[in-house]
């Protein structure tokens, strides 16, 4: 028995040493990481000034229905009768007929306010984030329509599947205190 005890205890000492070292390493790593850490968590968001309005937000989200949707900065809107974000490029008439609408899912609502102004709102349930209206509005109008990640849907994946394919690398992490980058506020 005593023969075996010697190597065993040597191994035990080695193990104890390694264990203490590992624990110390964990502690040190904890301290170092704590210094790097922020209490605040971060969430994904689209910087609307970097978005080029491709349709990948509609197709690449891990959710069956994208967490990216169109948002309207009303204070930037011209309230145009001929809204290029709402109407087909060359509408036959300025009415709400499906044949004149730009949005393939009919997610934009048009409401008359007073001559000659109309209000355009997004029906988020229908919006799929394809950015067609965003291109229309930005090309001809004030660019008040833009894409944002809606945090009631976003799961805040560690590796955002859309961020990975975004051609202009417009996806950024923002502090969860200010989870939106509204075009009229930045």
């Amino acid at each position: 028995m005593s023969d075996q005890n010697v190597p065993l205890s040597r191994r035990q000492i080695l193990r104890d040493g390694l264990w203490t070292a590992s624990l110390t390493a964990c502690g040190a790593a904890g301290a170092a990481l704590a210094a790097l850490s922020r209490r605040d968590s971060y969430v994904w968001q689209i910087n609307p000034h970097k978005c080029i309005g491709c349709d990948r937000c509609a197709t690449h989200c891990v959710l069956s229905e994208s967490a990216v949707k169109c948002v309207h900065a009303y204070s930037m809107c011209g309230y145009c009768d001929l809204c290029t974000g709402y109407f087909d490029p060359d509408p036959k008439s300025l009415d709400t007929g499906a044949e004149n609408q730009l949005c393939p899912t009919g997610a934009i609502r048009r409401r008359f306010i007073e001559e000659p102004y109309f209000e355009f709102t997004i029906d988020e349930k229908l919006c799929i984030g394809c950015a067609k209206c965003v291109v229309g509005c930005s090309a001809f109008g004030n660019g008040s329509l833009f894409l944002q990640i809606r945090h009631d849907r976003c799961l805040n994946c560690n590796e955002c599947a859309i961020a990975r394919v975004c051609p202009s690398q417009a996806f950024v992490r923002v502090p969860s205190r200010q989870p939106y980058l509204m075009k009229d506020q930045i």
């Binding site: 069956s64 087909d88 490029p89 509408p91 036959k92 008439s93 044949e99 393939p104 009919g106």
Partner: protein, 585 residues
């Protein structure tokens, strides 16, 4: 062994086992059905829906392009609604279906687990034959397996690393590879062969000294005297011709096109022209290109097997001598105040590019590309701002060196790896003239300020290699490069003042106003200076310590390029034509 059938019988009698088996079957079937439906829906969402919307889009397009067709509009509305409903229903199904699937799958797994609990067998240890053999076997197999896995990983890595079309390692990188076999052609000519040609800007060592005989001293462009041929150059450029054997090369570019031209040296016919694609970088449109510089200011270079050209947007193209494009690479649009102008040079199989530009520190580089493939062989950072002088490959102190000037240094580099051999601080401002070499000394010019002589072999006062010998002032050029003989150095400024200095101490020998404007660098041929004015007049002077005019020859066209020489011939590029001058018998 014996109780298997009994066990089976017992199990079949057990109602709980029956129940577990039943629920496993039911949940399994349901899970399968839901999964199938989900897959079908996913297929639809991925494949059918886009096609449907495309159909609708086509319908809309026809509606928009035609007159207001109410029936068509109605059809669009209906299709639109139907499609949206279908899409919504599908999404709903996917949401609910996935929950259902997870539920049924859990139920399936749960009932299988339950079922299994009835069939749990008691462990049945068997006497082991020989433990030690098995353990040794285990160790051996582990060893083998790990070794195999390692080999597999390593082999896979090597396969990825060595496969053709390998992505770039760094620098210029990704090129277009020639389809032809590069192997059976010589990769470069010997130094002796180089010296029998005019392969780079201002000749083999870039000094403008012509070793050939029977160079004409009399000609007249307008009256066609001694003009062997004259050919129009399709695209303009201020770069100089280069000559290899029976071919003359030069380049030209416009805002939309960049080409290298190959002319037959004997009759001037255009043998081929090769395109180097214009950079699609938006910076290209915003490049500040002065008219004096243009899009093709850099002279091409050949090593006897390949010819390469660089343009103002940093696009480099390489061709073999028959005009087959070998590769193209882009170095990015250089940030240069007056436009990129450094000429290329070659050393054996490598193409040397002096990319001095005005980005942040680290943007200026001396780059050597493999002329066969365009791969970066080495690149050395140069801590200099943009310059317009060209690199030259020279034989100094018994070895080949690359020289490059840029404020405030003249630096010698090792062509093998780009390591710095020596540097001397002696320049300033916008350096445009190219350094020249004679008798083991280097002569360089700081525009408008001074002409310097450097002995790269001697140590400086601080002990670093390279010593400044002297600096001479007065009538110092801003564009054209100096000319040096064995005793004298000449400089020629844009305004036409020719300065002549003693090579030993820089003392002024004479200065003379030539009454013409000069931009191109002159040449020294058999004790005669050939100086071409911008108006097209070539002034020939005796290369002695006394000013003595030999001849004046008109070309009849403006000249911004330096002359190239071949035995008995001068190649001169005017603004529109390339001339071959040869004394007619």
């Amino acid at each position: 062994m014996t109780d298997t059938n009994d066990q089976k019988y017992l199990l079949q009698q057990n109602p709980w086992y029956q129940a577990s088996a039943g629920s496993a079957i039911v949940s399994g079937v349901f899970a399968g059905i839901v999964l199938t439906l989900l897959l079908i829906q996913t297929y639809h969402i991925r494949w059918t829906d886009p096609k449907q919307t495309d159909k609708l889009a086509a319908l809309r397009k026809s509606y928009q392009s035609g007159p207001a067709d109410e029936i068509l509009a109605e059809e669009i509305r209906q299709k639109d609604t139907r499609q949206r409903r279908a899409q919504y229903a599908r999404l709903q199904f996917v949401h609910r279906g996935s929950v259902l699937f997870v539920f049924w799958l859990a139920a399936f797994v749960g009932s299988l687990t339950w079922m299994r609990s009835f069939r749990q067998k008691l462990p049945h240890p068997v006497r082991q034959t020989d433990l030690s053999i098995r353990q040794i076997q285990f160790a051996d197999r582990s060893r083998l397996a790990v070794a195999m896995a390692l080999t597999l990983l390593g082999g896979g890595g090597l396969f990825v690393a060595l496969r053709p079309g390998q992505p770039p390692t760094s620098g210029a990188a990704e090129q277009e590879f020639a389809t032809g076999q590069a192997e059976d052609r010589p990769v470069f000519a010997s130094w002796e062969q180089m010296k029998q040609n005019w392969p780079v800007f201002r000749g083999p060592e870039g000094s403008g000294v012509c070793p050939f005989e029977k160079i004409p001293t009399q000609w007249d462009g307008p009256s066609d005297q001694n003009i062997r041929w004259k050919t129009a150059v399709p695209l303009s450029g201020h770069n100089s011709p280069i000559v290899w054997d029976k071919r003359v090369f030069l380049t030209g570019a416009s805002e939309k096109k960049q080409q290298i031209f190959c002319f037959d040296a004997d009759n001037g016919s255009l043998l081929w022209n090769g395109d180097v694609p214009v950079s699609t970088d938006p910076q290209r449109k915003e490049m500040s290109i002065l008219e004096e510089t243009g899009y093709a200011a850099s002279t091409a270079a050949t090593n006897g097997a390949y010819v390469a050209a660089i343009f103002a947007d940093g696009q480099v193209g390489c061709f073999d001598l028959t005009g087959k494009r070998q590769w193209v690479c882009s170095l990015g649009v250089p940030a240069s105040a007056y436009g990129y102008a450094a000429s290329l040079t070659v050393y054996e199989d490598r193409l040397i590019i002096q990319m001095d530009q005005d980005y942040e520190p680290g943007a200026s580089k001396l780059i050597a590309l493999d002329i066969t493939s365009g791969k970066t062989l080495w690149q050395t950072e140069r801590p200099v701002p943009n310059s317009w002088s060209s690199p030259t490959v020279v034989q100094l102190n018994g070895r080949a060196q690359i020289l490059a000037s840029g404020s405030p240094w003249v630096i010698g580099y090792d062509p093998a790896d780009g390591k710095e051999l020596w540097r001397v601080e002696c320049l300033g401002g916008d350096v445009a003239p190219t350094q020249v070499v004679s008798q083991g000394k280097v002569f360089a010019v700081e525009p408008y300020t001074h002409l310097v002589a450097i002995d790269p072999a001697a140590p400086s006062e601080e002990g670093t290699p390279g010593r400044l010998l002297w600096a001479a002032e007065g009538s110092i050029p801003d564009i054209s490069s100096p000319i040096v003989s064995e005793q004298l150095v000449w400089t020629l400024d844009t305004g036409g003042t020719l300065g002549c200095y003693d090579i030993r101490d820089g003392s002024k020998v004479y200065a003379q106003d030539l009454d013409a404007m000069f931009q191109a660098s002159g040449s020294l041929v058999d004790q005669i200076l050939y100086l071409q004015s911008t108006k097209g007049k070539m002034i020939l002077l005796k290369a002695g310590s006394v000013f003595e005019k030999v001849a004046e020859n008109e070309l009849g066209e403006e000249i911004f390029a330096s002359a190239a020489f071949a035995p008995g011939r001068i190649y001169l590029r005017g603004t529109h034509h390339l001339y071959c001058i040869e004394t007619k018998l």
